[in-house]
Subunit: 301 residues, 4 copies
């Protein structure tokens, strides 16, 4: 089949990615820190830049960068979701050709250094590997404007040494895996939750609450498979936070294999594991409220 | 707004990611090598595994891995697109609960070592950083079955030291960028092209041809913006390869800034650059044939 | 100058790198976890393997791997320094051609998940980015045997938002940097400390104490330069831990530049920073006790 | 053993790491490119900066950066070894407190884009993963000045699908590895060679020659172990390039395991391999001329 129809620009967007911004709040001796990586992306009336090289409607990505830094001063980065909403609204409201704007924020956590048992006023160490994420989309001008907020966490590495089994699965000619009644279960979770609202949310508290809920369910729910654990984690979060429309979970099954020490006459009852790099199972699930509002452009960036 | 509707599993999929497979063809003294990273993903009737912990319809990811390796022997990996099609069809056709299967392949290039001017029979060095990619989706059983192939390249780092400008852009209160009539242009291209067909394609030759076309247009087209260059690259590829339905291009603008040597009394006429890491512009475009067949599930993995 | 003397093997060593071992202690309902990356390296009578292809004195790296896993069961990984000493001694004592053995361990930290305010018995999340390190060398047979232990931490990312200046420096024709009375100071510290002893040390408590001391001095000492801060950190650690012979500190100066918001009429008094990736200053210092025992082969791996 | 002696600064050095410099030569329509990552390190009379916070003898790392960029214009980066020598000499000769200077350069390769069979004048694609390296040290003032040049390559990934065995090795209680008469051999080579001279060398041609020699010997020499292959590679290089004093080789044994397809009734005669990530053997060797001049501070950075 050879195609011969006209060739068209069917989609486009552009922005400035990975602006590394650190914001210090220094209103008194006790400073506060917000450390983020901000990416902006604009959609709109930009086709001429692609098809004719005409930049007259293109706000440079450098200008987007300057704006991202300026907005870090005011309204500031406490919390990052409000910052992202303000920045996205600015692009849509104040830059004529822009029809929608997306802002993605990764936020890195810092912990105050402890000195003689007291938290230090202006020194911190980085915490990780987990990273808080936020993705905001604002589309439309004036009364037609809509906005979406997606919160999230990535690289939340979590492991349980028991309370997990895997058995009763489908087998085929290539199945050699043995069922196991007790295995280690570990993942590096990526979770993103879509809010049903964009205002009146205590973003920081909600993030902390969701993160804690995810970890607690992973810990306490006896797992018949990572699939089941993911669903239960998502369900528990939606139950606890009725302002959420849906949650998407992506979880690599970070395999830990019992190391065969028996050939050396050494008993290994779930004590010594080989932590494998690749390949890994990758399990994904979306859990949603049936009455959730439409996702619109929330996930489109 | 608090939601109170039922909580449901609205989407799910699972598979085995990053199976690192090397295939040697050794039918004579001159060996051939194919070096790939294969990920499989299955969709189907798996809800019970999530909501009830019932694995009876779940083919273990370990079995998927075994199959990926077995298929590397036969039909083999020459070329990777046919391998991916065969593997995906196997999952849909032979594993009852599976309704669609996706297979992603990254292929790493190797170059024969030269010894006294002759290519060596069984020794190679790795070529990069660019990586050939393929993504195949097969959905539906029997006569209703459909298939899609997406080819691609990523990490194709390309740079031109002249023949690029950026001027006449929109300005706002945060615009400090100066227009420039001559700048360095560099990117690390990710391109993915959807085929209108899945059979009768010389996959290897088509990949080489598209890769060469992308590079040639980047080199020879005078650029008024990376946006324009991307569109021209996509258009040229579609023109040259009428079996393509669309091409998606994502290009970080890897900024190279003229280094300010003037303060040291040293002239710098586009000779010494600082290659920045972050932030970077990120320009994205989709170029399509107006008469392209529907994308269906091609991009859904 | 053309050389014409005989060509000799002047140095050699070999081992198995990056054995990823996870050890669970499950003597009761409350499990303990140790998560490590172990590398072994052997020196000895191996020249024939290089110069003649004779493997008769070469213990395969696979055997080293098996041993590393076996020793994770017993004596186990609590603490890692004793494990490394036992493993290194085994290679020297029990494998005839080995004259010295080195064992390097990276240990990853995990934090118990909190469920309803209580620590969970068998679920943890990974802590980072900092990594605890240990390097052990054992050389010589029988009475001539010597051993060295080097503890350490790497990727300890620490930042202070005030209490740091940089002024009064040497200037030359290429100096454009302005002195500053108050700047942000941040680094990703690598520190390694050599113990004067190998026995009778509470390794875990000593690690925690040194790590805390490093952070506290970084926080509280007013810095005239990163050089000075490093020296004071090293000095404080040696003063607090008289069982240490020396400490080596390597610290990238992770530059945070005040972002120029003044051109937009926005005041920026140390509030908004650009966190740069590259280049970075790299400051290194060794602080030692004048009466420290000889380092011998401690650093030679 | 508790130490009580005075605490001293026993070693120190500092510099600017990872200056990313791209140099375009544009004397005619056909441009040339040199793309490097430059790190500088200074040793000298800097103790007061550490112990007293006195910066009066400290040339800022920012000034070192400016100088690295200025020298990229003139003398320029063709070749990088001469650039590094000039830059290091400048620091020692022109900055009074400096007693020795080191300059490390990573050079990234680019290949001209081919357009209609002809090389393009000003567009290139990056080649890799291998990286050319250079390390220069200059120590001492005036007549006492000495200099060293170390060339090298890293991340040279090379693989042979036959012509390699491993048998006749030492066994112990933890040995389960079977001898093999024919295996795949692959590594990601790091090689560094010390020149006996610093002048009169065609650096670019020598690099190309050594790189080719390393690959050719790896390809053609039947390997009884990676140890033997490394020694033969080093020996061949020294024989071919009598201006070299020594060569240091570090080679991870990138294991490729025959995949067990027999359990599925599929024969696998060295055709399908699992390419493992970790752990890996790590083999290291230094091959030297017996009459090589003293290494002095060449390796000390």
């Amino acid at each position: 089949m050879n195609l011969s129809g006209p060739i068209v620009l069917s989609d486009n967007r552009y922005g400035k990615a990975e602006n590394r911004i650190v914001r210090i709040y220094r209103d008194g001796p006790r400073h506060e820190i917000r450390d983020v990586n901000v990416s902006t992306v604009l959609r709109g009336d930009f086709a001429d830049a692609y098809t004719a090289g005409d930049q007259s409607k293109v706000l440079p990505t450098d200008s987007q960068k300057q704006t991202a830094y300026a907005y870090a001063k005011k309204p500031g980065l406490q919390p990052v979701e409000d910052y992202a909403l303000a920045l996205a609204r600015h692009f849509v409201d104040d830059v004529e050709p822009v029809t929608s704007a997306g802002v993605e924020v990764d936020e890195y956590a810092w912990q105050r250094v402890s000195v003689d048992g007291a938290e230090h006023d202006h020194t911190w160490t980085r915490q990780g590997p987990e990273v808080r994420t936020a993705r905001v989309t604002v589309a439309g001008k004036g009364d037609a404007q809509r906005a979406w907020v997606i919160g999230g966490v990535r690289d939340l590495v979590i492991l349980k040494s028991t309370g997990s089994e895997f058995a009763g699965f489908l087998t085929d000619e290539f199945t050699v895996l043995e069922p196991t009644p007790d295995r280690m279960l570990a993942t590096s979770l990526v979770a993103r939750w879509r809010f049903a609202v964009t205002e009146g949310v205590d973003w920081d508290a909600t993030y902390a609450g969701i993160r804690a809920r995810l970890a607690a369910v992973f810990a306490t729910y006896h797992s018949k498979a990572l699939q089941q654990t993911l669903f239960e984690m998502g369900k528990a979060v939606l139950e606890s936070f009725p302002l959420l429309a849906e949650i998407r979970l992506s979880a690599p099954n970070k395999h830990h294999f019992d190391y065969d020490l028996g050939r050396f006459g050494i008993e290994n009852r779930g004590e010594v594991y080989y932590a494998a790099d690749r390949p890994y199972g990758l399990i994904q699930a979306t859990v949603a409220r049936a009455d959730a509002p439409d996702a619109g452009q929330a996930w489109e960036q």
